[in-house]
Symmetry: C2
Subunit: 204 residues, 2 copies
């Protein structure tokens, strides 16, 4: 365990997840206002859902819940002042996007990158599984896209990505976004403010 300059919140997210989109857009500003560090913890929900016997998102498998969720997203994005457009494909495959996020999780560009991918998915209705799109997003951030794309699919980074998913499962994560302050789990964008408040009064 390394020491951190101030209190820390672990942020488990998947850019394919619609409620992760809201937290991705909010968390860096909230952390700054509350003098918290974020540990970005990219993972993917697919293997988690598969472990429950589900072959897709519960928002697809449960029609009623899915239908409600799209209404809720309109209201929630309005509440938080975020742009929103229902994607024509859901959920989109996010493996490559999240491999890049694992590679960059400790880099200063991680927040900008995640916001760019989540915005592409949930505002601009773009295919975030496309290497060409991810390449373009990285270039727009003035990042060395070619090197990043190569490193993202290296054996070492693929292994780091797999380990994230294993760690998520070992922490009993069942959805995204999920926040941890120490061992205390908070699930869903609805609990981000509670997680922040908890972190500000906890040594973590």
């Amino acid at each position: 365990m390394h020491t951190t300059p101030h209190k820390t919140i672990d942020f488990w997210f998947d850019c394919a997840s619609n409620y992760s989109y809201i937290s991705i857009m909010r968390i860096e500003q909230l952390a700054k206002e509350n003098q918290l560090s974020i540990r970005w913890q990219p993972f993917i929900l697919g293997p988690i859902f598969q472990s429950f016997g589900w072959n897709n998102s519960p928002f697809v498998l449960q029609k009623q819940k899915g239908r409600y969720m799209w209404q809720d997203m309109i209201r929630e994005c309005k509440k938080y002042g975020l742009p929103w457009q229902k994607p024509t494909v859901f959920p989109r495959h996010s493996v490559l996007a999240m491999r890049i996020a694992v590679l960059g999780r400790n880099e200063p560009w991680i927040g900008d990158y995640c916001r760019a991918v989540a915005t592409a998915n949930f505002v601009d209705d773009q295919d975030i599984s496309s290497p060409a799109l991810l390449d373009a997003l990285l270039r727009e951030l003035s990042l060395p896209s070619e090197q990043i794309m190569t490193d993202a699919i290296s054996d070492e980074n693929k292994q780091a990505f797999r380990e994230q998913v294993v760690t998520a499962q070992s922490k009993q994560i069942f959805g995204a976004p999920t926040f941890f302050v120490g061992d205390e789990m908070f699930w869903g964008n609805d609990r981000l403010d509670d997680a922040i408040a908890y972190a500000t009064r906890t040594n973590s």
Copy 2:
């Protein structure tokens, strides 16, 4: 459709549901502060879950989610200043309790009754499927328990109860608590404040 003296929120709830407990304890005060009418809409989740192919609560079927929920309840009840004790049996059968609620849904005692049942379940760890307990709760409210218990299991009230469940399904309700302001659905105690705010600015 009858006219209501002021704006109205439909409150779909099941006293077996832990997040319903929180809303049952909160809603009457919130409605009063915001000059809203509540239409109490008792139902049971069991047939809804069965229609999804589930033979129990998702909090039982999904171990990880269930484990998290019990942690979340402690924090949420603390947040809202509500007493809380994890029940030793979950979920408890609430058919009789909810039949009584259907019978009393337009009576002045409905709020007190629901709070008494939900408190028995989630604070005092009592068996709300027990007719003796429900009888005692009604008597504590100085209500004619014998008459109410008889009327609750009349054919007419059983039919009214079944119709509540059918209506819940036709409204695509998939969990509890669920709030409606007109046709706008809000799911979960987490959205009660949003539903209230929506109702105060909507003609409903």
